[in-house]
């Protein structure tokens, strides 16, 4: 017995070591760690019980329940019961003693187990129960290889989130961001794509010159970005699965601020080859471009409204940067921000109701959200002082933004009500320019 346990322990250790080495090959040094900055008491209480491991082989290296727990906690909509406060460890609905969980004031409970699916794959089963009504709300299972278990956990978190809130979950999504490592003039810039919680980072492109403004195609297969690798700014589109890329614009002057149209057929950009920064729409199939603005001001950072009929952009035509809206057919832009002397860098929620932006006042730059359905009322979701690049999750419930910690750039994920904020910290180097990717289809 003792000997068997020992063998098992050694095997597990070996597996862990192997996994660790496998990790180093990719972007081990770029890994993001996560910690919650603040929390909320008004959120829905939910208990996520650790899933039992019922397979014959090695236990999975992913703690599925912990990933679900962290996802729900990060959303701001849920208050996940800390593991040390769990009173029992049921793994199936029939094992739940509801009175005990009700005493702990939990509204919902998630239980599950991981089984051997053969061929090195796992079968993950979970159930979601309403504690007060003692009613099963969800009962599903997923089959996946070890490397995909985090993805399964995110899909489970999405299902739970949608069942309880009525809003589609956005945990099974990816994010893009830029890291800068090393000291000037030997900085290496990397465009990274990772899971929504910062895990599984993969390098898309590396450069010794600045990379900025990543933007996702609506199908999540491509990323447009700006690179200075040729000496001047140029806009590229890179396919994430093949790695192939093409130059979309490398004109004289600025080639910046790419943004895919909702149908993916066009790219809105800011180019200055005709004098100063103006907005253009490039048809990606034909390469044909159409100029949208005509002004001596800086016109940049176009973002598509969800209906694809107009763009919100930054312009300092009134003296300081403010947000404007212009029909894609052209015409005269309409100013949409009036509060605050500096408003730029918008991100628009999927329903077009919320517009996040960088709002500057004096030396403090924070992320503000303007709710157009509430008559343009604004609230701040970040404390400053140098926050930028807001990017909504595809369900509008959270956003990513970049801030500074000392001289280092860090990313934050914040619920759109500003209640829960989480820091995604790079092990070394500086992070900036986050972009939250679109929904992905579930298993």
């Amino acid at each position: 017995m003792m000997q068997r346990m020992k063998n098992h322990a050694i095997l597990t250790l070996l597996a862990v070591v192997c996994l660790a080495f496998a990790g180093i090959g990719q972007v081990h040094a770029q890994g993001l760690s996560i910690n919650i900055v603040n929390g909320t008491k008004s959120a829905i209480p939910i208990a996520v019980v650790p899933f039992s491991n019922e397979n014959a082989g090695l236990p999975p290296s992913t703690d599925v329940a912990k990933v679900i727990h962290m996802d729900l906690a990060r959303s701001g909509k849920f208050r996940a019961l800390p593991r040390e406060d769990l009173v029992a460890y049921p793994h199936r609905g029939a094992e739940i003693k509801f009175a005990a969980w009700k005493l702990l004031k939990q509204d919902y409970i998630v239980v599950g187990h991981v089984d051997d699916a053969g061929g090195g794959a796992f079968k993950v089963s979970f159930e979601l129960w309403d504690v007060n009504r003692r009613k099963q709300l969800l009962d599903r299972s997923y089959t996946a290889r070890a490397g995909d278990l985090r993805g399964v956990a995110h899909q489970i978190a999405d299902a739970i989130y949608e069942k309880i809130t009525g809003v589609r979950g956005a945990f099974f999504t990816r994010i893009a961001y830029v890291t800068a490592t090393g000291l000037a003039p030997n900085i290496t810039y990397s465009l990274i794509v990772a899971d929504s919680d910062g895990y599984n980072p993969q390098v898309v492109v590396r450069s010794h010159e600045a990379l900025l403004s990543p933007a996702w195609s609506p199908d999540g297969n491509e990323i447009a970005y700006v690179s200075f690798e040729s000496g001047n700014s140029a806009i590229y589109i890179q396919n994430l699965s093949t790695g192939s890329r093409r130059v979309v614009s490398a004109r004289k002057g600025i080639n910046g601020a790419p943004s895919f149209s909702p149908d993916g057929s066009k790219l809105a950009v800011s180019l200055s080859y005709q004098g100063n920064s103006e907005l253009y729409i490039i048809d990606l199939a034909s390469g044909q471009e159409r100029r949208l603005t005509h002004n001596y001001a800086i016109d940049t950072e176009p973002e598509w409204m969800p209906d694809g009929q107009s763009l919100v952009f930054t312009s300092d035509r009134a003296g300081k940067p403010q947000l404007y809206q212009i029909p894609v057919s052209g015409g005269s832009p309409k100013r949409i921000t009036f509060k605050g002397s500096y408003n730029s860098n918008s991100s628009i929620s999927y329903d077009g109701k919320q517009i996040a932006m960088v709002q500057g006042e004096g030396n403090v730059y924070r992320i503000a959200i303007m709710d157009r359905s509430l008559g343009g009322q604004k609230h701040f979701v970040s404390p400053g002082n140098f926050d930028e690049a807001p990017s909504f999750a595809p369900n509008g419930s959270m956003l990513l933004y970049a801030g500074m910690q000392g001289t280092r750039g860090v990313l934050y994920a914040v619920s759109s009500d500003g209640q829960v904020r989480q820091r995604l910290v790079l092990s070394h180097g500086s992070v900036r320019s986050p972009a939250w990717g679109p929904f992905r289809s579930h298993q």
């Binding site: 600025i254 800011s270 920064s277 950072e301 940067p321 690049a389």
Partner: protein
């Protein structure tokens, strides 16, 4: 204040616009960069003019950075002299080429700062041309906030980053 700034801006942007147009006309007749070696040897023909050696010794020409106020692209009076001597150098050395690199401090969004950096480098370009430099001798580029020389979050640092670097790509 605001009005005068805006007027200056308009004046500058007009100047830039004109410069851009005249540049386009001038770029065509002039074939791609003429071979530089010849003029280097013939330079002594103009005894009163600047020579490449002056770039390292002349106290005015040695200054190659123009600094700006926050969110501004107006060239401050204290930098007019630098502009004037570099414009003179470019006039004296028609084969000389400069790249004007516009930069901003870290505040605000990166893409807007790209625009602001370009506006600053174009303001210096317009001023050089107003002092007699030829548009064909000048290229402008903006690095926005991507190339800070100083990384602290305070005004003394920001003021060093809000700049246009005058870089001679051909002397």
């Amino acid at each position: 204040m605001n009005k005068s700034v805006r007027l200056t801006l308009i004046a500058l942007t007009c100047a830039v616009g004109v410069a851009a147009c005249s540049k386009k006309q001038e770029v065509k007749p002039a074939p791609p960069p003429p071979p530089p070696p010849a003029p280097t040897e013939t330079a002594p023909a103009q005894p009163t003019g600047y020579t490449p050696a002056d770039l390292n010794s002349d106290p005015c020409l040695r200054q190659r950075v123009v600094y700006f106020d926050f969110d501004q692209s107006t060239i401050k009076p204290e930098f007019q002299q630098i502009i004037a001597c570099h414009a003179q150098y470019l006039q004296d050395r028609p084969s000389a080429q400069v790249r004007l690199e516009g930069n901003t401090d870290e505040r605000g969004s990166r893409e807007y700062n790209l625009g602001l950096g370009e506006r600053r480098s174009k303001a210096v370009e317009a001023a050089l041309e107003a002092h007699g430099a030829s548009a064909s001798q000048i290229t402008v580029i903006s690095y926005g906030e991507e190339r800070p020389t100083c990384r602290q979050h305070n005004e003394s640092c920001w003021s060093k980053n809000r700049r246009v670097n005058i870089v001679y790509t051909s002397k």
